[in-house]
Symmetry: C2
Amino acid sequence: MALTPLWFLERAATVHPTRTAVVHGSVHYTWEQTYQRCRRLASALSRRNIGAGSTVAIIAPNVPALYEAHFGVPMAGAVLNTVNIRLNASTIAFLLGHSKSAILMVDQEFFSLAENALKILAENDNHYNPPLLIVISDKSCRPESLKDALGKGAIEYDKFLESGDPEFAWKPPEDEWQSIALGYTSGTTASPKGVTAKAVYSAIANQGVTHFCAAPVVLNTIVNAPKEETILPLPRVVHVNTAGAAPPPSLLFAMSEKGFHVTHTYGLSETYGPSTVCAWKPEWDLLPPIEQARLRARQGVRYTGLEGLDVVDPKTMKPVAADGKAMGEIVMRGNLVMKGYLKNPEANKEAFANGWFHSGDLAVKHPDGYIEIKDRNKDIIISGGENISSLEVENVLYTHPAVYEVSVVAREDELWGESPCAFVTLKPGTEKSNEGRLAEDIIKFCRSKMPAYWVPKSVVFGPLPKTATGKIQKHVLRAKAREMGPVKKSKL
Amino acid sequence: MALTPLWFLERAATVHPTRTAVVHGSVHYTWEQTYQRCRRLASALSRRNIGAGSTVAIIAPNVPALYEAHFGVPMAGAVLNTVNIRLNASTIAFLLGHSKSAILMVDQEFFSLAENALKILAENDNHYNPPLLIVISDKSCRPESLKDALGKGAIEYDKFLESGDPEFAWKPPEDEWQSIALGYTSGTTASPKGVTAKAVYSAIANQGVTHFCAAPVVLNTIVNAPKEETILPLPRVVHVNTAGAAPPPSLLFAMSEKGFHVTHTYGLSETYGPSTVCAWKPEWDLLPPIEQARLRARQGVRYTGLEGLDVVDPKTMKPVAADGKAMGEIVMRGNLVMKGYLKNPEANKEAFANGWFHSGDLAVKHPDGYIEIKDRNKDIIISGGENISSLEVENVLYTHPAVYEVSVVAREDELWGESPCAFVTLKPGTEKSNEGRLAEDIIKFCRSKMPAYWVPKSVVFGPLPKTATGKIQKHVLRAKAREMGPVKKSKL
């Protein structure tokens, strides 16, 4: 029988029908209600002939409809394409065209964005068949925008659900290779909305939160929050799963000081998400906290669901020595790895060369078998023929008391070919007039903590460009470094 | 990539190489050692051309070699056939012939049993090719028996391992339908060895046991143990998984009084083992203990790994009403269900009729979706046209203070066709001379606690016949009841 995550919902609804499944503002749904809503969605889609071979796109923040789409769409046999709400209209137009979505579900808040995207798509493609629009009403938005959407022919999501059967007899996929989701990885210039530490602490206090997942950028906000926005000590143990970027040890240390239990996982959109975990060993509990943070900053070992993980020499495909020094590329294989890139055989050939999925991340393997990322393939800095891990330089910079966020990229260097250039955001409250003195201080700090050739030759202050998922965009910083021109020989 | 449990061992050895994996007397192996021993076994088998298509049988108690065979044999691509050590020589001869085992691994203690089985097999089949014998040495046995085995050409297990490569590059199965194990379900007249409650408590005290699995018959020994053999209160929470027979609520109540946390699971050899679990709900913690025991005695809901579970009318295959009353057959489907019966297409056709596996167990479904077994299909008693669940009669009998074990079967009845007949083992220390008075007392007790037509008309004292896995053999008791002749009309 083909394995599918859809059964988890049916089981939750059977075993825990009256327990709360989804909370959104004042809306609470039980598992039974959620299962019925998902079956209504699947049924309503089926009645419109949406099934095997169809794609349903959704542009929505983390509202109940987004959750329901993850089950309801594949229960109808169709593929779900979740569109990042931070993308701009032309990128969305490209995605909707590429995925050939037959239905577009859109949160009221993003209806005009969706409209603009569809307009661009129609202008660029004469044969384009516009999708059926379903608008998800949102009480926190202006009522006019809903009225506007309905006036333009969109169907209200809850009305659409009403047209479906809550007892719909959905069928599990016949074949495990039948796709249920289509995702596009991030790569945008739009800025993510800021999370405020206050909202996190308020959810912990009011909603009884015990577990959450957040990228290191969010953890950074939490540890740097002003005292009046925090609740310390925490009312209970709060477990945090972090992934999305390598968390600096200093950040993990600060989180543990505040009483959070952080588990560090690592993966890519192509490998479902987390495919390694820094599995904690009880004997590490006895180590000094800063040493614990250093161990926790490693990406760790494969999840039980991933069959193969290794760090290999990209040329020979042989595993590197487990000495914590030899660098190689992280490769994975097994059931957590994606089926492939849609309509892109060339990319698939490259990504799956030699029977492994190639992550593009460079790492070492420690004697205990735990892997640790040193850099993205393309982020490595080559100075005087020596490789410098931009990540390791950043980890040191994060321990400087004035540094809030930092990113290090290669800058052309007349003498060494390349040398590290640090882009730094200072902690709130730092005087702008102090920047000159601070740049010197940071370089001096680095000299005392790393090999001379690692030390950034230039320090640039200002906000860091980020992707929609909160990742720092090194390509933008590299372009800035290019604009700065090469480091002169005299600077040595 | 085909899913296989073999990766779990590789992961344990990678992540927890120095942690204890297996303890047997004074022998301790770490996960790394265990993985190496399994790879040695796989390698040594491969070197003898044992691989895809071969079967390796093992007759051994719960020693490290038995554990290692579960990984080493499928790592070589072969199928493992574990033979119950309580079987007699002629049954073993049948199994070895049926499975065409190329290798027979046998614990020193059972070498002469294996020899006898092979002798029977050779006498019955002229074309029979005897398997290679590997003897597992056992320090607790007489050294002569090992010498004897080696003299007869058997290879010592540890010597066999030495011939294998500890770094053997085993290959996972290419296909999930590639068999890794062949099991024969129980059905024997040999008696199981008694477990003493003392050994259980001693392991809890000395080995730091936190979890164990045991059939209700073992739990019965634990709760009825004399005070001097027990440790109360327990030094820590001890979690127990029970399955193999329906545990009477009175037994679950007594276990919880002693501080054990019992989880009740249910399944068949054909469904991997546990395929349902009586998932505990926090709100039940507030109920009176006896009510908790009643809820816990239900077989519950499907495991997440089982895709389908239902109670259906055997004729229409329609689900019965979830009213706790309508009885039907338990059916299952999904990834926990076996591939099929070996060389038995007729049995497969019957067991898998209508796309479901038919358990042969009769149950009701409660309004909360939890299922509860009422009887085996063939154990139901039909009295005056009414169905009587022998299990429900037994559950009441178990609450009688003098009853240690009980089994209820149908006895022919001149008036009602059939009526219940109870076979009872009394608690240790009960005077034999009291049996007559006790039989009357038990019947009186039943009259006050169940419908009149459920009350056993006959009570027979004595030890109960059991299978090698500790299940009471109702067919033996039914034969005894037949020998007793029908219940006379006058007895009414």
